[in-house]
């Protein structure tokens, strides 16, 4: 721990790294060693304050750090070597950038005098990661190392959070230099605005008060703003009595069980959410960024609404959708101020209009869009998740996912009452995210139940992290909805490419039960619906890591669905409507 104000103690670069991490409150890092970081690993060996989790591939390290960060609100830290270590981490960095996850990734670099020489395991790390980080640094002077590290943490966690890379040449790790204290480092230029403009807050409340068909549209920014911010959002929504919908990243920001929650919005969101978004006259975007997965066809997006957009990132404003009232600021601060103003002017919402609006919404809700046809002999993936949900509701549980149909079903059928309990790769849609993320979550929350809802294809993308789970005795549960297809790809091929299932069959799958056993974990399998409850009970009770192979229907599609290039009110509830609704060529181009 730092003694009372001292002046620049001197130490080696490797020790500076460790000291800076401790001063930043880091207690765990995820990494993988190699030549260019050996001095840091040596320093790590000689200390006890920081725990190192050895992953099995650097990509896994970044996702694990994401899982750690998103389930704790802290910065996730990664340590990897130069060259392949750095390039392997790129997917995770891009993922963290898209989903605004605070990560500091330390990469080793070849010694300064060899940079640019095509030295062994050299790559242009700052060049390669420039567009997939919030910011990156190549440190060339050991005396600046501590400053850069402190800055990196500040950049990663402030404003809209994101990943920051610090590239540290090996000679700097050996060299001796001055340590700069954390409190002596402030960001010169980068000062995100936290407090919303008071005039705009007033205007927002006036718009809220006048609304007849209002809708809160809550995104991952609310979650990033923190648990307290989400509580404020929840209070505001409840005070107003207005409906609220959440994005994939925002699930949990407002309790799913609340009657005012319409569930998820967007491509595979609920019927009531999407129609409410289409038909509202006031939309309040709270830390949501009008992603194309949410808006659908832009020129038909919520045509009759005024839009308020609360976001900490000015570049999110008017990016794809023009809004009427942008408020730059932190969700917690802005929503807090909106609540105060609401109370101050004693808003009385238009009860009659609101009742009519709710009546319309209840009509949409009554459609029961998540309904599916159950079968006695084949497990429907939705049914498997329903049973899983029944077993975990009310528990201390974290859910991660891979990417595909199973991810969307998990978003639809598992319901979240709190933020930070749901971790999924939304922006980048990275298959292979779920298992390492679950590892990171389990490290942060050793006593909690951590489940990765997976597809049989995705899970193989980072299956090596079972080794990490084994080494640290992490009882993560992998719940594979095994449909023997890259289901989401197969679904698009069915709907848009004449059922030509080009390369989307999961051939030559491993025996997941044996695979689990090979990693020292427990394997389980369910073949029929009646197997489910027993399996789920055993899985939850098992003190070890589990891979549960749930053999589900192979041809199930995920609905509701707003096909590419369509508007919210063109949402498909299921296959029957399919024939009539041909997707335009323009829509097909969209991913």
């Amino acid at each position: 721990m730092a003694a009372a104000k001292e002046t620049a103690p001197r130490m080696t670069g490797a020790d500076i790294v460790l000291r800076a991490l401790v001063d930043q409150g880091v207690d765990v890092i995820f990494g993988y060693p190699g030549g260019a970081v050996l001095p840091i690993y040596d320093a790590l060996f000689k200390q006890n304050s920081i725990r190192h989790i050895l992953v099995r591939q650097e990509g896994g390290a970044v996702h694990a750090a994401e899982g750690y960060a998103r389930s704790t609100g802290k910065v996730g830290v990664v340590l990897v070597t130069s060259g392949p270590g750095a390039t392997n981490s790129v997917t995770g960095l891009a993922d963290a950038l898209m989903d605004s996850v605070p990560i500091v990734c330390l990469t080793g670099q070849v010694p300064t005098h060899l940079i640019g020489n095509d030295a062994f395991q050299e790559c242009d790390t700052t060049g390669i990661t420039r567009s997939c980080t919030k910011h990156n640094y190549l440190v060339k002077d050991v005396n600046k190392l501590a400053r850069v590290l402190h800055e990196a943490f500040a950049v990663a966690r402030s404003g809209r959070p994101g990943p920051v890379v610090v590239d540290i040449p090996k000679d700097l790790q050996f060299a001796t230099g001055d340590y700069t204290l954390r409190e002596d480092v402030t960001l010169k230029n980068y000062r995100p605005q936290l407090k919303g403009d008071p005039e705009r807050i007033k205007a927002a409340v006036a718009m809220l008060a006048a609304a007849k068909r209002p809708l809160f549209y809550i995104g991952g920014g609310a979650v990033n703003s923190g648990v307290d911010a989400c509580k404020l959002v929840t209070k505001l929504v409840r005070t107003t009595g207005y409906p609220a919908t959440m994005t994939l990243m925002g699930l949990g920001a407002f309790p799913a069980s609340d009657k005012q929650s319409l569930g998820m919005v967007g491509m595979h969101g609920t019927y009531e959410s999407n129609l409410a978004m289409h038909g509202c006259d006031l939309m309040v975007a709270v830390g949501a960024r009008f992603d194309d997965r949410v808006t659908g066809r832009l020129d038909a997006f919520s045509p009759g609404s005024k839009k308020i957009h609360i976001d900490i990132d000015p570049s999110s404003i008017n990016k794809s959708v023009r809004v009427d009232l942008p408020i730059i600021g932190d969700v917690g601060s802005v929503i807090g101020d909106i609540r105060k103003e609401w109370a101050r002017i004693k808003v009385k919402p238009d009860a009659k209009a609101l009742a009519a609006w709710w009546q319309q919404i209840e009509g949409w809700r009554a459609v029961d869009c998540l309904r599916f046809k159950n079968t006695p002999d084949v497990i429907k993936p939705q049914f498997a998740l329903q049973r899983l949900y029944e077993a975990i509701r009310g528990r201390d549980v974290y859910i991660t996912t891979e990417v595909g149909q199973h991810q969307m079903w998990a978003a639809q059928f598992l319901r979240f009452e709190e933020p930070m309990r749901w971790l999924t790769s939304g922006g980048l849609g990275t298959m292979g995210y779920g298992l390492p993320a679950a590892v990171g979550v389990q490290i942060a929350h050793p006593k909690s139940l951590v489940i990765d809802v997976a597809g049989e294809a995705s899970i193989l993308m980072n299956i090596q992290e079972m080794g990490t789970a084994a080494q640290y005795r992490l009882p993560v549960k992998i719940f594979i909805l095994n449909n023997e297809y890259m289901g989401m790809v197969r679904q698009w091929q069915e709907l848009l490419h004449g059922s030509r299932y080009s390369e989307s069959y999961s051939a030559a799958l491993p025996d997941f039960v044996k695979l689990a056993e090979a990693f020292g974990a427990v394997g389980m399998r369910a073949d029929k619906p009646s197997d489910l409850d027993g399996l789920i009970k055993d899985m939850i009770a098992c003190p070890k890591a589990v891979i549960a192979d749930i053999r589900v229907a192979k041809d199930e599609n995920c609905y509701p669905m707003i096909p590419g290039g369509k508007a919210h009110n063109e949402i498909l509830l299921g296959p029957p409507q399919k024939q009539e609704q041909k997707v335009s060529e323009e829509g097909m181009v969209l991913v």
Partner: protein
Amino acid sequence: MSRAPEAIERHTMAVIVDNEPGVLARVIGLFSGRGYNIESLTVSSVTEDGSQSRINVVTSGTPMVIEQIKAQLQRLVPIHSVHDLTAEGAHIERELALVKVVGKGAKRVEALRIADIFGAKVSDTTVESFVFSLTGSPEKLDSFVELMRTLGQVELARSGVVAIARGAKAI
């Protein structure tokens, strides 16, 4: 409800950045990565201690894209401030062109005469060539170059636009 496509506007911006390695790559990478246009870009150190540089960039896009460009630039950590000179009021744009013209006889005389009209300086001369240097607005340079093309212009170097707001206020 289809909206008429918004008109493309040309904007000149001054971006004050920390003078550190990679900052230009960040700015250029932002433009290429997000598909924004760069019509012209210049950069040079502008503070006495050399700690800051000024990037002058001329870009074009719909008003929504221009707004995005500014917000995206502002988001880069080493960027101090972004000034949209086009939006902020009257400003002056200047550019330097070096124009090499090769020829003899009447064309050579004509080239010299036109250079004189434009106020271009003769910066180098041989019996069969001139290098003219001309500063002015980009449009002025365009017209000069247009004329020289017919008069034996063989090479052209342009500096890109530098710009500054009119009046007493400084950024």
